[in-house]
């Protein structure tokens, strides 16, 4: 589904990712962990097509197509979704209108008919239930005045509505209390299937108690320095990141 080969990316001339290789197959959940500043959000941003990052080397194939040649909206229409670490507040853009427009753009790309406002309401009600959000959120501007937890749940709501093939969750668990964490994880688990895949970026092992990954990768200084199964996350929980830093010549 996704194949990243020798990916190098920089911002303002500083190399942040230096040689990432990753393969994600349908049905898999990959966790990416690592200390602050190791490049997790950069990787997520490069996947989604953030303009400020330039890819200096390597390639990314997504469902057999060259991802790096696609504009961000094309990546989304092809089935990629990024849950933002810091979702943006957009005053004046109505949540419901925004999400229906997005859904219809994606449906059009897949050769499906547009959904009417009424049909959309039926779809969205089911998804709202999944993330335990009230319908009144739809009347508000996108993320405006939402609490941190509400913003993260809204990301999951959007993901559930747009039904991506590959979802990248960038620290969706950070800053959540245990109830919100359970809701977010429940949303992801409900969507898991043999056809789609997830890349779950997290700083804490806690989330992985709820979303059990098939693979865990440790990102450090822009490289995947260790990969394993879910036990690697438990090990990191017990011993922290210092041993990773030491092994890789960083400052512990």
């Amino acid at each position: 589904m996704l194949s990243i080969k020798n990916l190098h990316a920089s911002v303002d001339g500083h190399e942040i990712l230096n040689g990432i290789d990753l393969d994600v197959k349908p049905g898999e959940v990959h966790a990416i962990m690592g200390p602050n500043g190791s490049g997790k959000s950069t990787l997520a941003g490069v996947l989604a097509g953030r303009a400020e990052y330039s890819v200096t080397e390597g390639r990314i194939d997504f469902l057999g197509k060259n991802l790096l040649e696609m504009a961000p909206e094309m990546r989304a229409r092809e089935g990629l979704f990024l849950a933002f670490q810091y979702p943006v507040e957009i005053p004046g853009v109505n949540s419901s209108y925004f999400l229906r427009t997005a859904l219809n753009e994606i449906r059009a790309h897949r050769g499906l008919d547009k959904v009417s406002a009424l049909e959309f309401l039926k779809i969205i009600r089911e998804k709202l239930e999944l993330v335990e959000m009230d319908e009144k959120f739809l009347k508000r501007s996108v993320n405006e005045g939402f609490s941190g937890g509400e913003k993260k749940r809204n990301e999951i709501l959007q993901m559930a509505t747009l039904e991506p093939k590959l979802a990248v969750l960038d620290e969706t668990d950070s800053g959540l209390d245990i109830d919100a964490l359970r809701i977010v994880a429940g949303g992801v688990n409900a969507l898991r299937s043999q056809e789609n895949a997830f890349i779950v970026v997290t700083h804490y092992q806690r989330l992985l108690n709820y979303i059990v990954p098939d693979f865990v990768h440790v990102l450090y200084q822009g490289k995947i320095v260790k990969s394993g199964d879910k036990d690697l996350a438990l090990h990191l929980e017990d011993f922290g990141y210092d041993w990773i830093k030491e092994q890789n010549g960083g400052q512990a």
């Binding site: 989604a48 097509g49 953030r50 303009a51 504009a71 961000p72 909206e73 990546r75 989304a76 229409r77 979704f81 990024l82 933002f84 979702p87 943006v88 957009i90 005053p91 004046g92 853009v93 925004f98 999400l99 427009t101 997005a102 859904l103 753009e105 994606i106 790309h109 501007s141 996108v142 959007q158 747009l162």
Partner: protein, 440 residues
């Protein structure tokens, strides 16, 4: 053309105009002559004057405009798109002349008068005679002087004491004249007596793509505890010049809400002066301007707090593209005795191109010591992070930008309480958005 040349031009037009006027009260004739004299001495404003520093009107003073002709009857179908919701009460002016066929005033409630100014003056309406040209000072600038000199037709609205009319009246000023260099000088007088309520739409549209000059003056006199909502929708041709003066006077416990939309014009200047001349007055000014091409859109507002315990709120926003220029000047003048004034003003601008410019200038003149006055002005671009967020959900970049502009403008259009009108204006705004730009 030399300034003196253009002054002579309007003097000779005035002489001709006066000859053709066959009636009229002597007092009005006197006022007209005073106004043309003032104009002959002072001419049009120059950029050396502080209030005109950013707006050079020489494109207007360089053309010898002639009074627009009275046209043949207008097909009413052509004006229907410009009438929203309930259209039971409207006055239609075509090239400055009342069009009785298109106007309807039959179903007005008792106590609400809507008629052409000419009719009001011909019938010696006492209130009209007493208030006309008493508020907008002819010596304010050459544009007001010129309008006053040529007062002839326009709209007159009178709402008697205790009469409430919630549905908006329409005053529609249409230019159909395809000939170049024509001029219209509409005059509007609105009197709302104590405890009365009025909603009125003053709209300027063009069915011709010609270079013409519209120079309206509107006076609104609001009595005690009365309530007025006023919409100005300016959709002149992109080659037209529009210079408008709007003078509002309020008495105690009254309220005035203005919605000022500026969409058209090559040079479009609106001077709005609101005088809060009593205690407990509420004044809200909402404004939205969209400028593309080489348009120059200038809004000058003055809110004058003369008495204590009044509130004023001002929200102006603009979107500018290509080489458009906008000017916003918002003066809040708090007199010495206007204690407990609560005034707030904001002006926000969205710039879509490198060449578009905005001069925004808040001016606080505060002579009282116990007041709350805040103001803020911003000039920005469409937020890239928001665009990326929308695109990351599958929405194309052009549509994402349109959504952002719509949201920006929507914060002004959403302030319209009348549902039909709010949707109508939102549609007009939408019609201006095109591939992430303002429609050229």
């Amino acid at each position: 053309m030399k300034e003196t040349g253009i002054r002579d031009w309007y003097l000779s037009l005035f002489e001709e105009f006066e000859r053709e006027l066959n009636s009229g009260a002597p007092a009005l004739g006197h006022m007209r002559r005073q106004a043309i004299r003032w104009f002959a001495e002072n001419g049009f404003p120059s950029t050396r004057q502080e209030e005109w520093r950013f707006t050079n009107v020489s494109p207007i003073s360089e053309i010898k405009f002639e009074a627009a002709e009275k046209p043949a009857a207008l097909d009413p179908a052509r004006i229907l798109p410009y009438i929203t919701g309930d259209d039971s009460a409207r006055l239609v002016f075509v090239n400055g002349h009342i069009d009785r066929m298109s106007s309807t005033t039959a179903q007005l409630p008792h106590g609400l008068m809507l008629q052409s100014l000419q009719d009001a003056l011909a019938s010696n309406d006492a209130a009209a005679a007493a208030e006309l040209a008493r508020h907008a000072r002819m010596d304010e600038n050459g544009f007001v002087a010129l309008n006053t000199a040529f007062i002839n037709d326009g709209a007159y609205v009178h709402v008697a004491k205790d009469v409430a009319h919630a549905r908006p009246l329409h005053l529609l000023f249409i230019t159909t004249d395809a000939a170049e260099a024509r001029m219209v000088q509409p005059r509007v007088l609105i009197i709302v007596e104590d405890n009365a309520q009025l909603s009125v739409i003053e709209r300027y549209i063009s069915l011709a793509d010609s270079t013409y000059f519209a120079n309206p003056v509107t006076e609104i006199v609001i009595g005690e505890n009365a309530n007025v909502t006023h919409y100005k929708i300016q959709q002149e041709s992109r080659k037209a010049f529009h210079t408008a003066r709007l003078q509002v006077v309020l008495k105690r416990d009254s309220s005035y809400t203005s919605h000022n939309y500026a969409f058209g014009g090559a040079i479009a200047r609106t001077d709005m002066h609101v005088v809060l001349d009593g205690e407990g007055i509420d004044c809200t000014l909402n404004g939205l301007y969209l400028g593309g091409g080489v348009q120059l859109i200038d809004n000058h507002t003055v809110i004058e707090h003369r008495r204590p315990h009044c509130n004023s709120r001002e929200f102006y926003k603009g979107i500018l593209d290509e080489r458009a220029r906008a000017v916003f000047s918002g003066k809040i003048h708090v007199h010495k005795y206007a204690q407990k004034t609560d005034a707030m003003q904001s002006n926000q601008n969205l710039i879509l191109s490198e060449e578009a410019t905005i001069d925004t200038k808040p001016q606080l003149e505060i002579y009282a010591d116990d007041v709350k006055c805040t103001h803020g002005a911003t000039v920005g671009r469409i937020d890239e992070e928001s665009i990326f967020y929308l695109c990351s959900r599958g929405i194309g970049k052009a549509m994402a930008k349109n959504l952002m502009m719509q949201a920006f403008a929507g914060q002004i259009t959403d302030r319209i309480k009348d549902d039909a009108l709010r949707e109508h204006i939102a549609e007009i705004v939408l019609g201006h958005l095109h591939d992430g730009h303002l429609h050229r």
